[in-house]
């Protein structure tokens, strides 16, 4: 162990609280190429604790790319430069010996920094609570094919449902817009029969909540799609725009 370790210079964002001034702190580490970036931070934190220093605060949970808890901006890319992975799936073998890394939190007005690399993404929960659900009881599992759904439509709905709500779309957007997240949550229901009864109320309520929370407006740069760990397509945003227009123009509910 340790024979093929690589040496890296880390510039990590340290910030005491939302109202404190933050800055980068520099660390020199020697790390196994088999470690993930989170494991590297774990090792660094162990070392810091032994030295009696305050460890770096960062979030993680499943560490297999499905929970959406971890989220770091590595060298300007949310979840690092590799496509379609979460931060926990970013391994140090993707970096060269002697490289310098800048590790920053997801930055947006709507995501207040709690500490260091942890941001408050509860805005996403509020958007979900505004309409990202089906409010009637669906009962127990229905018989297979009792409700026919074409394969193509089911696939599109599942693609949208892949969203793990990590917030990388907001972090990547120059306007800090949450459109891709909201579009995925709107689309997963808009495509399926179970989502139809509340389809148009849902899109209006979720957009209204998104605007209220101070997320920016979309200017179609498509940076969100490029950085999304699940590759959620901006076609979902187009679908949401369509539903929003239809609901405003043809429905009586405001």
């Amino acid at each position: 162990m340790g024979n093929n370790n690589i040496n890296l210079t880390l510039n990590i964002w340290r910030q005491e609280s939302a109202e404190a001034k933050g800055d980068f702190e520099k660390f020199k580490v020697s790390v196994s190429p088999d470690a993930s970036i989170l494991e590297m931070l774990d090792e660094l934190n162990n070392k810091l604790e032994k030295e009696g220093k305050i460890p770096i605060a960062f979030e993680s949970d499943c560490r297999e790319g499905i929970c959406g808890t971890c989220g770091l901006v590595v060298n300007g890319h949310p979840h690092g430069a590799l496509p379609k992975i979460a931060t926990c799936q970013l391994h140090m073998r993707n970096f060269k010996d002697g490289e310098t890394l800048y590790i920053e939190p997801f930055r947006a007005t709507a995501f207040k920094i709690i500490k260091d690399l942890i941001v408050d993404r509860s805005g996403f929960d509020e958007i979900q609570q505004a309409g990202g659900y089906i409010s009637f009881n669906t009962g127990s599992a229905p018989d297979a094919n009792a409700v026919p759904i074409p394969k193509e439509i089911a696939s599109l709905a599942l693609d949208a449902a892949e969203c793990i709500g990590c917030g990388a779309c907001v972090a990547a957007c120059k306007n800090s817009s949450a459109m891709l997240f909201v579009a995925a949550k709107v689309s997963q229901f808009a495509l399926l029969p179970q989502g139809q009864p509340e389809r148009y109320e849902r899109v209006q309520a979720m957009i209204a909540k998104m605007d209220e929370l101070g997320f920016g407006s979309c200017s179609n740069t498509y940076a969100c799609e490029a950085e999304c760990p699940k590759g959620i397509s901006v076609k979902n945003i187009a679908r949401m725009n369509r539903d929003y227009i239809v609901s405003k123009v043809t429905k009586e509910t405001v």
Binding site: K174, G216, V234
Partner: protein, 229 residues
């Protein structure tokens, strides 16, 4: 009608205002370029074209008022979006990323709409202050009074900095249109894997034709007439 005002001021509503006014301006540019091509066929063709427009002046005036309103909405809404979006990028304790990788995840045109748009706006003011003013209001040389509009064009494009500014502005307009064209269709929700790639390609071809088409006029007049009438 409160719902309409509210809807147009939502995040999607603002996109729609941008897209609808943008599409109108895209169509206007096509008409404008086709008309201006008469410049390449000599003074008689161009003067004849402008004089024909004079015949239907009341209609032209109505279109101009609509166009002015569209321009104002597009510019005002664009500035407002830019100002609002600046506020979403973090407070005073943390703002911009130290390392910015936006060049790797989005197009140059899409990130610089406010810059290309602002320069095109400055150009527009100058364009109206020179050409529009001399054609429609007052021409100190008296060419407009005798329907010799072609001479106004060759006189103005004989000025090197004036022609240079035109070329720069319309090239930036090309970048603006390259993003704006497909962006408008995305906003309307017309993104489908069958035809959206076509819309994107068509938008790029359109932007190139507009930029080169409008740039060709000052270049042609500067090098072939050089201020000679």
């Amino acid at each position: 009608m409160g719902w309409l005002w509210e809807s147009l001021n939502s995040s999607i509503g603002k996109k729609i205002v941008m897209a609808v006014t943008g599409i109108f301006l895209i169509i206007f540019l096509i008409v404008h370029l086709i008309g201006n091509i008469t410049l390449f066929f000599g003074p008689d063709a161009f003067n004849g074209y402008v004089s024909t427009l004079d015949v239907v002046k009341p209609l032209i005036r109505v279109i101009e008022v609509v166009l002015l309103a569209v321009f104002i909405f597009h510019i005002f809404n664009g500035l407002r979006l830019w100002l609002e979006n600046k506020k979403t990028q973090g407070g005073k304790f943390f703002g911009k990323y130290r390392v910015n990788a936006s060049s790797e995840n989005s197009s140059f045109s899409s990130r610089t709409m406010i810059i290309s748009g602002s320069i095109v706006f400055i150009f527009l003011v100058l364009h109206l202050g020179t050409f529009f003013w001399r054609f429609n209001v007052h021409d100190p040389q008296g060419y407009a009074d005798t329907h010799q509009y072609f001479f106004i064009v060759s006189e103005l494009f004989g000025i090197w900095w004036y022609s240079a500014l035109y070329v720069i502005a319309v090239l930036l307009l090309g970048f603006h249109l390259n993003h704006g064209f497909q962006s408008a269709f995305q906003t309307f929700g017309w993104n489908n894997k069958k035809y959206f790639p076509l819309i994107q390609k068509f938008g790029t071809v359109y932007a190139i034709i507009m930029a080169l088409g409008f740039a060709s006029m000052p270049v042609y007049f500067f090098f072939f007439y050089g201020g000679n009438l």
